[in-house]
Amino acid sequence: MSIEWYIVLSSLLFATGAMGILIRRSPVVILLCLELMLNAGNLALIAFSRMVGNQEGQVFALVVMVVAACEVVVGLGLIVAIFRRRLPLDVDELRELRG
C-alpha cells in the first residue's frame, strides 16, 4: 500500500475536521473536530516517517498526542466554567465581543 494513500486519507480526515468546526456549534463537538484534525496530522506524520524511514515523525506524533490531550483538558475545563457561569454551550451565543 503506497504512502500516497495514507496521506490522501489523512488530508480527507483533515478536511472533514475543518468542516466540522465550521458547521458544529457545540463547543464539545468542536473540540472533537480539533482532535480529528490533529489526528489527521499524526497520520500524515507517521506515514511520512515510514516513508523516509526515520522515527522523528513518530516522536513528533507522540508529542502531538500530548498536546492534543492538553488542549482537550483545557477546553473541557473552559466548557465547565462556562456551564458554571450559566452561559449557553453554543459558540454562536457567545458573541458579546464583535465589531
Binding site: L34, A44, E71, L94, R98
Partner: protein, 504 residues
Amino acid sequence: MNFVAPEIDYAGLSPVIALTVSLCVVLLSAVFRPTERWAPGLTLIALATTAGLLIWRWGDSQDLVTGALRIDELAISISLVVLLMAAACVLLSLREPATEQVGSGEYHALLLGSVLGMVLLAQAQNLITFFVGLETLSIPLYILCAANLRRERSLESGLKYLIVGSLGSATLLYGMAFLYGGSGSTDFAGIAAGIGDAGLVGDPLVLVGIALVAVGLAFKTSIAPFHQWTPDVYEGAPTPITAFMAVATKAAAFAVFVRFFDLALAPQAEEWQPALAVLAAVTIVIGNIGALGQRSLKRLLGYSGVAQAGYILGGLVVASEAGVNALVFYLVGYAFMNLAAFAVVVARERETVFGDDIESVRGLGHERPLLAWPLTISMLGLAGLPATVGFIGKLYLIEALVEGDYTWLAVFIAVGTMISLAYYLRVVATMWMRPESVAAEHGGAPAAPAIAGASPEADPIDRHAGRRLYLAGPAALAAAATVFFGVIPQPLVEFAERAGSSLF
C-alpha cells in the same frame, strides 16, 4: 539498550531551566494561603534571573541539546522583550480581579509557563521543539484569557482563542508534516538541505506545506485574514494579559517565523516572498481601517496591533539581514509603546466606571497629566510621528523594504500610517481637547460600557489606581523609553543589528 545521555550545555540552557524551576516554585507557593501572596514577587525574581542569565549569554551563539534549540542574539533579544512584557504584566496584575479569581499562584505560574513557551519558541530550530514551544505559549494564554471567570467576555475570549488557536496549531502541524515529508528531517537546517537534495524546490507538496505553516504563524502574529480573533480576545481578556499577549506573543511568534522562513525555507524565498508581501499589505489596510471609530481602547489597540503586525511582517518579507534588524527594532519599540498605553488603560479601568471605553480617558490631560502624557506619547509613537521610537522603527522598516525592492509595500506602510492617525489622534484629542461634535464621532452612541457599575460583573472601583506606582511607573518608564530611543536610537539599532547578524 545503549542509551547515551545527550551532552547538554547547561550554561546555554540555563535561562530555560531557571524558568522551569521558578515555575514550579511559584506553583508550590500557591499551595499554602500565606505564601500565595509572594507569587508576584517570586515571579519577578524569576524573570529577573532569567533576564540576567540571558544577558550573560549575550554574544555566544550555539546549538543546544543536539540542535533542538539555538541560543543566539536573535533568541536572546526576543526573549528579553518577552521577559520585559511579562514583568510589566506582573505589575499590572497587582490587584487585578482576575488574579484573585484564579489564585495568584496559579495565575503567575501560568504566566511563567507561557513565558517559557515563548523563550523556547525564540530558540527553537527543530519542528518538534517549535510545535511544543508554540503550544506551551498558547495553552496557558487560553486559560489566562478566561481568567476573569466572573465576566462572560473573559470566558468568551478564552473559548474563542482556544478554538481558533487550536485550529491554527492544527494547520501549522499539518504543514510541518508536509515539510517533514518533503525533507525527511525535522531540523530547520535539515529541512533546508533535504528539500534541496530531493529536488523539491517549488514542489506543490512543499509549497502547500509552507502555506499551512505560514497560516499557522500568521494566525499567531495576527496577520489578516487570520487576525479576527485578535480584537475579540484583546478586548475580552484581562487587560494585563492583553498587554502581555499583544507584544510577547507577537515577538516570540515573529522570532520563529523569521528563523523558520529565513533559514529552513530560504531556498523557496522567491515563492513565499510575494505571498507574504500581499498578506502584509492586506493586514496593514484591514488593521487600520478596522480600528477607525472603535470605542473600546483595548479593541482599538487590538486592531492597531494587527496593523503593526503588518508593518513588522514587512521586515520578514525582504528576507534580508536589514529586514530582521528592522523587525527586531520595531518589536522592541512596539513593546515600549504598547506597555505605556496598556498601563494607562488598566489604571483608568480601575478608576472609572467606563472600563476600557474611550470615555475613560476623556479630559485626562487636565486631571491626570501623569497618565495622559504616557498615553499621548505612546499614541504618537504608534502613529509613527517623529521624536518617538515609532518613527525610527518605520524609517528602519521602510529602508529595509526599499533595499529589498519592496518599495510598494513601503508605500503601503505610509498610507496605513496616515489612516492610523485618524484613530490614534482621536484618543489624544479625547484626552486634551474639547469633545468632538457628534457628527465627528463615528463610534455611534456615547459610552454605555456593558460592564458599567451595577452589573454583577462589575470590578471594584479604585479611585487612586492612577497614582499607584506599579501602574504609573511602568507607564512613565515606557513612555520615557519611547521618546529616548526616538531621539537616541543608535543603541537600540546596534542591539537589533546584533540580533539580525546572528541569524545570517
